[in-house]
Point group: C2
Chain length 272, copies 2
């Protein structure tokens, strides 16, 4: 999907919501477990219930891999089921030497036909650039993550008095453009989002950490907004496990709609 097409969807749906499909067999309604492919069936119900309120879906590969080949089938079927005008992100946090990253790109872009894949920056340029060889496909690079461990290395101050995550933002802008590169910026670090926006004014940010992890949508919009919205705000558990009973899909829809309405208010206020 192109950047222009994504922006068009945001305008059309009045939403910059990404729904995280972190589907866990221990948390979905029990009656799914009798089905042939419980994960896909649950995702299908969630997608049906939420697709009018979001512009992206983000399955995290860990929740699929742990079921082996069957899990990969569920992931593939899920990505295929998502309507084509919705942006799809394989949250895989891959990254390896160039020769090998090319195979990961092939996996997520060709085999699974995702629009984007999350990538870890530790191994540097040649671990990231192979992903850019695919037209209209995206790298979403970890910059400032939402977890506690982000403090261990991402804030390392270098000799120029600059944090590592800023160096990642700066260097990586030589590798990709705002047409094929986004950044992961955690909502739990609202002040950080503003710093990231200064360094990467044009890029989209994928923002996890709103809801269960404690980040605020208003703060994210305040610090992260750019002229093209520039935000995909993710919610996983707050939507897909809004209820674990038979009403799970209605409750998921309600939670997604609530976030979408808040987003619509923000978009309206920005005159977008």
């Amino acid at each position: 999907m192109t950047r222009a097409a994504l922006i068009e969807q945001i305008k059309l749906k009045r939403s910059f919501l990404c729904v995280g499909l972190d589907t866990d067999l221990t948390k979905i309604p029990e009656y799914f477990l009798q089905k042939e492919d419980p994960i896909f069936e649950f995702n299908k119900a969630i997608i049906d219930a939420t697709k009018d309120f979001c512009v992206a879906y983000k399955p995290n590969t860990a929740f699929y891999e742990c079921h082996g080949p069957k899990g990969w089938e569920s992931l593939k079927k899920t990505l295929e089921y998502i309507p084509k005008d919705i942006f799809t992100i394989a949250d895989a946090k891959r990254g390896d030497i160039g020769n090998t990253s090319r195979y990961y790109a092939d996996t997520f872009f060709n085999h699974l036909s995702a629009d984007a894949v999350t990538v870890a920056p530790y191994m540097g340029e040649d671990s990231v650039t192979p992903f850019f060889e695919f037209k209209n496909k995206w790298v979403i690079l970890l910059a400032l993550t939402s977890n506690k461990g982000a403090l261990d290395f991402q804030f390392t101050i270098d000799a120029n008095n600059e944090e590592l995550y800023k160096k990642v933002l700066q260097k990586s802008q030589d590798w990709g453009t705002e047409e094929n590169l986004m950044y992961v910026v955690g909502a739990t670090r609202a002040e950080g989002i503003g710093e990231v926006r200064k360094i990467a004014p044009k890029h989209f940010f994928l923002v996890p950490g709103v809801g269960a992890q404690g980040g605020s949508l208003e703060d994210v919009a305040k610090h992260g907004w750019n002229d093209d919205c520039g935000l995909l705000v993710n919610s996983s558990r707050g939507i897909i496990y809004a209820s674990q009973g038979k009403d799970f899909s209605e409750k998921a829809q309600k939670a997604a709609r609530k976030l979408q309405q808040k987003m619509a208010n923000i978009l309206d206020a920005k005159g977008f």
Copy 2:
């Protein structure tokens, strides 16, 4: 596998060789492509030919994932086929927030029954520690990688005049011990191996980059040796693609034996 058992194997086999199973359908002898599971059949032949000369196997998951569910079957079958006294490493370079890393640990340690998994450190403590909850299983943390991109971030000098990779080594020693934590240290940075050894005197290092990438076994042993050997030196392409003809397994055996004999000389010289 325990540390003691691994050391015992090194002594017994007079080898600290790890064979990288980066099995690529475009590089294996063509007649394998007619088989039901070409990747597994090729790996089986390579394992049969090299198992007496190595103490570890390391399939890189990228080469399996790109074939979807079928690739995961090949990976599982390969790991199951490897004799139980040989250490197995899923070279997956995973790492995610704690809740999610636990699923990756389950995937590689339980579902695929690997002894170890490679992990990227960018997301910090809670992305690494869930892997330590599994008894006699190992994290192999990226410290100083063998690729060109290693120079982008791993050598970032912090305010204490210390490189990022050293910070990774120091902090991570609070999370794991030499009984469940190893480090990836590229052979292409021989001077770096000595630096890493100073900071992590007891830990094993997984050393890629000997052979095709240009690192020297002698330099690695010179700078990286500790009282328990402390080294697993990986060779992938140099062994598994020593020939792409019908004699591939003989040539692979010859290449593995050649490295093993060099290693035996090193072990003898060290009186190990």
